[in-house]
Amino acid sequence: MSGLQSLRLVRVSAVSGRRILAARVISFIAALAVGAVVLAACGFDPLHLGTQILKKSLGSRFGLEDLGLLLTPLILTGLAVTVMMKIGLWNIGADGQFYIGAFAATAIGLFVKGPEPAMLVLCFIAGAAGGALWILVPTLARAYGKVDEIITTLLLNFVALLLVYYVATGPWRDRTTGTVASTGRVPYEMPDFFGSLHWGFVIALIAPVLFGLLLRYTKWGYEIRLTGANPEAAHYAGIPVRRRMITIMLLSGAIAGLAGMLEVTGTVHRLQGGISNNYGYLGVMVAVLARGSPVGVIAGAALMAIILNAGIILQTQGLTTAAVLALTGLIMMFTAVADQFAHYRLVRALPVPAASAAAG
């Protein structure tokens, strides 16, 4: 009955997007503040570092180009995860699908000769097909055997990674320049439109918008939304739930594969072991940040790209990679906490009418 007891937290089920956004902004600032304190304690000047990041990432043409190059794969892998979330499933294997998409595009690039535009289209198809193929087994296992897709998609990442390492250091190794860890240069390149930024960036911007429109304005989209929200109600409405699930999973894999293809033909131009740069796993974070909104993926990916870019800049300023990772983790953790806190409201607990109790 003390004053402390008279306040309590109550969970509310429906939270407005504005409330979430406000909580996120606060958490982002809080994370930066905590990071700044730690940096200052280690002898760095947080204000100086902050201005360096802004100047070098958003304030220069090269910075913006770099940002665009990071954004392209992040949007696509984030979208791949979001697409699966729409039907209530998790794709933790975007990294593997990315690798196989890159692998398939490289195979076309190294071993098929033809005019560049046609070959780029072929690479595009091969990349998407490779990603879809890589999620095929988890898809069938999920649809027909109810095998948890989180585990199967995750485990196939390691298979894909080892496969790419094998070809990049073995049979497809670049013998002309003598590097040991990558294939030769893929002769077909996505055309650039802004410095080193290629048209893959535009594809990445269009894809989430297109998917959002499909969800909202097509019968198929309605069926996907209904199936994701309640499979039993979808079955009751006469929707072939299993078939929709299979389509969505393959589409998710294809989008992640496409990200890999664009990375090879647009940015790296070779296949190498670390080509995914963890974009597949970061895509899961992007999707969580976007909270299931396809267009929100672009914003989530932008935040992630800025953080990654800031990380690179901070390293040039003398911070270790571990410190950069810790800062990234801090921001992610604060965001997750904020999302939870947005669900709670502080209410005054029922006061006990103490005076009237004695009287009564």
Partner: protein, 525 residues
């Protein structure tokens, strides 16, 4: 009855509620309600759906906060902020929908969230403690069984044991017999009398008059959120209580008159022949059921909930596939029944568990309203889905259902259960050209809304649609059906012309007991 209540008036009541008021947006749930509970009494709280019984008890146990009034516990003002605080003070409630962890054992459920649970305890220790509690309170439970292996009656005993183990002296039961067979109800009543004899008190929420007369010492009647009267049960009769409860001439009257008389049985539109089906856990849910569903008739399905009604309704709408037997539509056996097929031929379905299968709770009202119509114009155009047309249909359905909506974009889970129910009912009625299967359509509705709904089913029947009405309210079934089938443990126990059926026979069959040989029944196949 006895002299205990007379003595108890001299004592302080265990619980006194004074002038309790509670307003929800647009609804007065409770207004100026006084209520007192004495030691050693069973006090019945009687009222229709929506009369404010559950709200009042939710206020007492700290789930809701009252807008006005106060709660006295042993004469001292008290306010609980949560059910945990209420149970700590010895007040425990068993809700209509059990709050047990289905994947845990009985012993684990009894010990969950209890401060006397040993910190380190093996399953054996917990089970031994549970057996001891079970004996002490005379409630037979199987300590090692998982909750989802148990019947509704057994689950209820676990809930009660949970509450009693925490040294409750006040037990609140919300519609405890709704899910019980007659024999399980008798067992419950025996346990309640023993609990009372030990000086404890029970609040018994119900809308079943005969039960209230049988078990309670005093009755408080609520109507429209207000207290009508508190009376010793000895002074009450069924008629008197019914009048107090409804407070106006029975709205449900006149339904029979609205049904146009039929000269001959309607043609069979859907027919089951020896159909068996598995339930969700793969056990036999429906066993060799044969049932004709006729056009222009209301076929009532009587039975305690959970005796195969869900499986039956899902077979009749293509949602569930039979494991054996034949489903015939207009006399032709269906090779591969599917929901889409039954939708095409015009079979509406009001499912028993709306949130689970009838709607997608997180989607908008508009999206849910078009669930049955999204494949056709005007909502669909080629491959396109037109949100504007969906909104128009949603508005029409809401207007028919007399539901006022804050916005069509609101997730449907934000509506009250009653409003969700009305929207689903109207949505399904729109597509019911051939037949409609309505599972417990009156659950959660007040008398006025039930009357409207039943009238609408009668209109469909008069227009030649086949209606299947699954209900646990025998009075409702006897009011509006042409035939009644009784289900028990997955089997169809009998099929009667309603005009020839008697309550006694149907009631006995619901409990699995074979009918008395003398009962005048007509098997109409």
């Amino acid at each position: 009855m006895t002299d205990i209540p007379a003595l108890a008036t001299l004592e302080q009541p265990v619980i006194a509620l004074e002038g309790i008021g509670k307003v929800f947006p647009g609804v007065i749930a409770n207004a100026d309600v006084d209520f007192d509970l004495r030691a050693g009494e069973i006090h019945a709280l009687l009222g229709e759906n929506g009369a404010g019984k559950s709200t009042l008890m939710n206020i007492l146990t700290g789930i809701y906060r009252p807008d006005s009034g106060r709660i006295l516990l042993d004469g001292v003002a008290q306010a609980f902020n949560s059910p945990v605080e209420a149970i700590a003070a010895g007040i425990g409630m068993v809700h209509q929908h059990f709050k047990l962890v289905r994947a845990f054992t009985v012993a684990e459920n009894v010990h969950l969230g209890w401060k006397e649970t040993p910190r380190l305890a093996s399953a054996q220790v917990l089970e031994a403690r549970t057996r001891e509690l079970s004996e002490r309170y005379g409630l037979a439970v199987r300590a090692e069984a998982r909750i989802d292996e148990l019947s509704a009656g057994e689950q209820q005993r676990v809930e009660i044991l949970r509450v009693l183990a925490r040294q409750a002296r006040v037990l609140i039961l919300d519609e405890p017999t709704a899910v019980l067979t007659p024999s399980e109800a008798r067992t419950l009543f025996k346990a309640l009398r023993a609990f009372k004899a030990a000086g404890n008190s029970v609040i018994f929420i119900s809308h079943k008059l005969d039960e209230v007369l049988e078990i309670s010492d005093r009755v408080t009647v609520l109507r429209g959120g207000r207290k009508v009267i508190t009376e010793p049960t000895a002074n009450c009769t069924t008629t008197k209580l019914a009048q107090l409860m409804v407070g106006r001439e029975m709205v449900l009257g006149g339904l029979r008159e609205a049904m146009t008389p039929r000269d001959e049985p309607g043609r069979v539109v859907i027919s089951l022949e020896n159909v068996s089906a598995a339930d969700d856990r793969g056990r036999a849910g429906l066993i060799e059921a044969s049932l004709p569903v006729r056009a222009g008739e209301i076929l009532g399905i009587a039975g305690v909930a959970g005796n195969g009604q869900r499986e039956l309704s899902e077979i009749l709408t293509g949602v569930r596939k039979p494991t054996s037997g034949k489903v015939l539509i207009e006399g032709v056996a269906v090779e591969d029944p599917s929901p889409a097929l039954f939708l095409d031929i015009g079979v509406g379905h009001i499912p028993e568990d709306r949130l689970r299968s009838g709607v997608a709770p997180s989607l908008s009202v508009s999206d849910n309203a078009v669930l049955r119509a999204y494949t056709e114009p005007p909502i669909a155009q080629g491959i396109l889905f037109k949100p504007g047309a969906a909104d128009t249909l949603a508005r029409e359905i809401a207007a028919d259902a007399e539901v006022t909506l804050p916005s069509l974009r609101t997730p449907i889970r934000n509506l009250s259960g009653g409003n969700q129910q009305r929207l689903v009912a109207r949505r399904e009625m729109r597509i019911a050209r051939l037949a409609i299967v309505a599972a417990y359509p009156s659950r959660g509705l007040d008398v006025g809304a039930i009357s409207t709904l039943l009238r609408y089913l009668i209109d469909l029947r008069n227009a030649g649609v086949a209606v299947v009405l699954i209900s646990e309210e025998l009075s409702e079934l006897f009011d509006v059906t042409d035939r009644i089938a009784v289900m028990f443990k997955g089997r169809v126990m009998g099929l009667f012309e309603t005009k020839d059926a008697d309550l006694e026979t149907v009631g006995l069959l619901m409990g699995g007991q074979t009918k008395p040989a003398t009962a005048p029944t007509v098997e109409a196949a």
